[in-house]
Amino acid sequence: MNAPIHKEHAELATEFVHNRERAKWHDSSLWFVRQKRDRQTHSIPEWEQLRELAATIKRHTLAKLPQYLEEFERNATRMGAVVHWARDAEEHNRIVLQILQEHGAKKIVKSKSMLTEECHLNPYLERNGIQVVDTDLGEWIVQLRNEPPSHIVMPAIHIKKQEISELFHDKLGTEDGNNDPTYLAGEARTHLRQKFVNADAGITGVNFAIAETGGFVVCTNEGNADLGVSIPDLHIACMGIEKLIPRARDLSVFTRLLGRSATGQPITAYTSHFHGPRPGCKLHIVLVDNGRSKIRASEDFHRSLNCIRCGACMNTCPVYRRSGGHSYSTTVPGPIGSILAPNRDAKSHGDLPFACTLCGSCTDVCPVKIDIHHQLLTWRKELAIQKVVPWTKRVSMSMAAAVLKRPWLYALGGKVARVGLRWMPRWMIYNGLNKWGKQRDLPPPPAKSFREQFRSRSKS
């Protein structure tokens, strides 16, 4: 699929920051979640050991992924599920559509699944005459607004309650100007309840699939996944192949990390285990690669597959908090998304590894110890090799290096710059060409550099 032409992150971020009051609100909302996470993690003395253990389990699983996938398939099939393999998004969508058509299913309720977002399943099904309703409240809100989620755990974190009130008034006929969250959530519940009752099939994502048992686990806070697969006779679970863990007893390591890292809860409100279909019902599991094997084979980026999609790196990222999820123009935004997206399309998403100050907060917050900021740096190097880094950057850096290789030229250049800055009128220094100086002053240039002063100091 050709990536849509979109504006670069820097441009969209500038637009977001332009509304300073809103950018501040967005920053504070996410920082609040980060603080909740800190309080929860501080209550676990063995937090760092848990992270290490989780990273080790993931590394092991990814190393033996083919064996574990086959083990999972065997065990899931034994319990009566039908397992499908999809090479890419297109095949995934085709498989889901085919299952739905075979069952004559027309109305679908879907719980949150970043994988189906990644595969753009909703528009595909809608084009084929199937009605899909996202039942996670946040995701339903963005669906009603006809926009993608801006965060993987809190899809509507960028929307204020007044705007939700207006949206519901417009689409559902709720009271005009009633911004009360309890009222709005109640109205949403009433509307969604009808969708659940009338659904022909439920689609869910998968948080963890267990090779040893063939079961899988879906974590939600709203119970929408449970309701969505309990009423209709057909349950389709879509999962990326990296969601696997070897044994049931490995699960607790991840459930302890996930809720705390994601929203600062000890555990998600619902941690539902699925072992085969309900009596008389059907369960289909679609295993999706969609570029994951390519990432797994990469020496540099394979660790990014450890990701359990908790979103902690977004909540902590000082750039994400101030630029909003939509500025990344990709399904998974923020730090982890900036590693994943260029794997898919380096040209279209090559700006993302640069939407970062390399502060490293994401790496320290990550519950599965992905060295996120180092991988972003590695991406920059890869993009320069592929010549996706703009030539202006490459040429200016080569020129700077040429000067810095020659100490006399460097010293001379420094002197010229300092003298120039001292004598040039302000308008010559601060103009449209100087982006640094748009809102910041340059340091007042000293008459003598350190090296000049050190030399005369040593002589005296």
Partner: protein
């Protein structure tokens, strides 16, 4: 900590015979010479004879961080050649030290000279703490000081524990500042958020960079910071740029300047705190 195990506390004789090469990052050399001079003063106070090899220019971090490995490699090679013969390389920059310690291996794989330089390179406070074994610093500084945790010093060199981690680490910068007579440290609501400098990020993402800087300064303002300090002049250059433009009443000083006994003057001279 692994480095204090590797480098036991040294006696005076070994301090005198120690060959220390001073690494002054290019922007400090050109724009903040006093930070370099303060570093020399600090090391000399410990009885160390400091050498400044004049062939040095830049460690190559700007090139490496923009992905331009080919432009960075010759600078890394030069750096290692210039500093290979020293017992220690000391620098008043966490970021540039982190570049040498953690990011040269891609540029100079299997290079024995690099491995020696890698092991021997230290940020100034880290050198005082890990190599000289110091825990306190003798001096007066009767001001309310806010520490800006420069990210690379914090999360690459681990000069202190980060707010994300659940580990206790020694505060290698904070410890020295705390021991100064008359000093008060301000309490920030976000103790280690990035200032938004980020090298070329400061220009490429100007709007976000400036907002991040302003948010840090607002946090310091509510905490009552009179003197804002850090281990990195690059973060401080960005914050000072905003302070100057908006004429904020706060002074900016590198940690080395405070430890060397300089007074806060740039760009603002706060009144000293009254002693009780």
């Amino acid at each position: 900590m692994r480095f204090s195990h590797r480098f036991p506390r040294l006696n005076t004789t070994s301090v005198h015979s120690m060959r220390v090469g001073l690494f002054i990052p290019c922007y400090i050399d050109q724009f903040y010479p006093d930070v370099g001079l303060a570093t020399v003063d600090i090391l000399e106070k410990q009885g160390i004879t400091v050498d400044f090899p004049a062939e040095q220019t830049c460690c190559g971090q700007p090139m490496s961080n923009t992905g331009c490995t080919d432009a960075a490699r010759p600078l890394a090679k030069r750096f290692v050649e210039i500093f290979a013969d020293y017992d220690y390389v000391v620098s008043p920059s966490g970021s540039c030290t982190a570049m040498v310690r953690h990011h040269y291996h891609d540029l100079l794989p299997h290079d024995a000279a690099y491995e020696k330089v890698q092991k021997n390179s230290f940020e100034l406070c880290e050198f005082l703490h890990d190599v000289l074994g110091l825990r306190q610093w003798d001096g007066d500084f009767p001001y309310r000081v806010g520490i800006h945790q420069s990210c690379h010093g914090l999360r690459e060199l681990r000069l202190e524990g980060s707010s994300e981690e659940m580990l206790t680490r020694p505060g290698k910068v904070r410890g020295f500042l705390q021991s100064l007579r008359g000093i008060q440290l301000s309490e920030l609501s976000r103790p280690d958020e990035c200032c938004g400098f980020g090298g070329t990020f400061a220009v490429a993402q100007e709007a976000v960079s400036v907002m991040m800087g302003e948010d840090r300064l607002a946090d310091h303002k509510q905490a009552g910071t009179d003197v804002l300090t850090a281990t990195d002049m690059s973060c401080l250059m960005h914050l000072e740029g905003l302070v100057r433009r908006q004429k904020m009443p706060v002074a900016i000083m590198h940690v080395a300047e405070i430890l060397a006994g300089r007074k806060p003057t740039r760009p603002h001279s706060p009144a000293p705190l009254k002693s009780n």
